[in-house]
Amino acid sequence: MAAAEGSGAAGPLVLKNHQFAGLADVSISEDIPVEGEITVPVGSRSPDEDYSTLDEPVKDTIMRDLKAVGKKFVHVMYPKKSSALLRDWDLWGPLVLCVSLALMLQGGSADSKDDGGPQFAEVFVIIWFGAVVITINSKLLGGTISFFQSLCVLGYCVLPLTVAMLVCRLVLLAGSGTVSFIIRLIVVVAMFGWSTLASTAFLADSQPPNRKALVVYPIFLFYFVISWMILTFTPQ
């Protein structure tokens, strides 16, 4: 019995191999109480820390989510094969990026409303609807990634293009001649390449191998359209 007893304190129950041999001879009579503490050794916290997240201060909640979003931004800028973007998906980052991109694309010049740049709603719809269509396309072609994970990756990879938009607006403040156009062109093309490569790095592995090009092409088209909207932005 002593061999089989737990360590007594709040610790995991440990049975070494040679102790099993003795158990066959052990018979437990009913008047000997068995006591000890068995806890499951899976890294669980002690009962004191296990309050629900409803009780924590609001700052902790917000900081935890913000840290997760920030970590994903870093993963997008340096795309390595990490599973953080895929496993713990969230849509805060894409929402923030989409809204800021749409806001920055406002104020485009127009003689009449019909000929101007895209409206806020148009940018929003293009980004979200485009991401949904690409996700459905990749799932129909046999991809194994889940719907929201794919949306998350596509949304987060808009980050380089948002940075490009910011740079373009700053360059346009300085002037709008040929030189500024060339600078903007280079920046937008570079960021477009970065976005496409980043999202391909995350998404390509979940596709069947003989259909990778079929899945990558719509992603290329999607970021191309967004880049076109950024490049053709002309201020009032």
Partner: protein
Amino acid sequence: MYLFAEFDDAANLLAANPDATTISIDEPGEIPKNRHSRLQEPGREEDDELLGTDDSDKTELLAGQKKSAPFWTFEYYQTFFDVDTYQVLDRIKGSVFPVPGKNFVRLYIRSNPDLYGPFWICATLVFTIAVSGNLSNFFIHLGKPTYHYVPEFRKVSIAATTIYAYAWLVPLALWGFLMWRNSKVMNIVSYSFLEIVCVYGYSLFIYIPTAILWIIPQKVVRWVLVMFSLCLSGSVLVMTFWPAVRDDNRRIALATVGTIVLLHALLAVGCLAYFFDAPELDFPAPIIPAHNGTAVITKSQ
């Protein structure tokens, strides 16, 4: 593994009672989709078995029939995207270089119409036309002091509506028309709706490089391009649909094929006219005061 355990018991039972009817599991060579559906419904197999259909009939039935999933499941729509990269590229090549005498549908699609090609070729065409039109207008009016560049984003939605309507409504009408004629005249060749959508979608591919080349601001060049691409994609359509109507009344057959080519031409010409400004047309200049003081409006050609 649970299912295999059940079948092991069945084998034991069979040994006990050799005359009982048996159910055999699929061959490994069968399409995986069918195997999944059969594994999920072992009860159905037993019902079919009781109804007397034996196994060889069933495998043959399922071999020819691909879309066996009900239409409200995701797997049903996956069967329309069952193409590999090289297949899509082959189909695009077949639409750009039509082999005289070879039918596009029979050669490339007969086994496997897909929706990937039509959908994404139309999407690419929409954005190509919008972007090229914008670029072409920019270059035409470049250098004029009064011109102010506008991105013309509204035209994207117009382009999208037009092209998707053409690529889906015209095949629908054509399919309905062919079904109606089929009920009157027994045709040897008849196409399903998806095959017609496929042909139309892939035949639009030639307009993508054409739209890019339309940036060149020369009228002659643009019209030569229109004719060239119309001949190529029109011939694909004609060679596809002529066998389907040739058994019919001569006039109806010619009218059908003529309408197909006419609509195709209308699409090309309409896109050229709407999205691309004519090269010689100047941006109307504002009123400029002439040297003798009177205001003169100048507008060249």
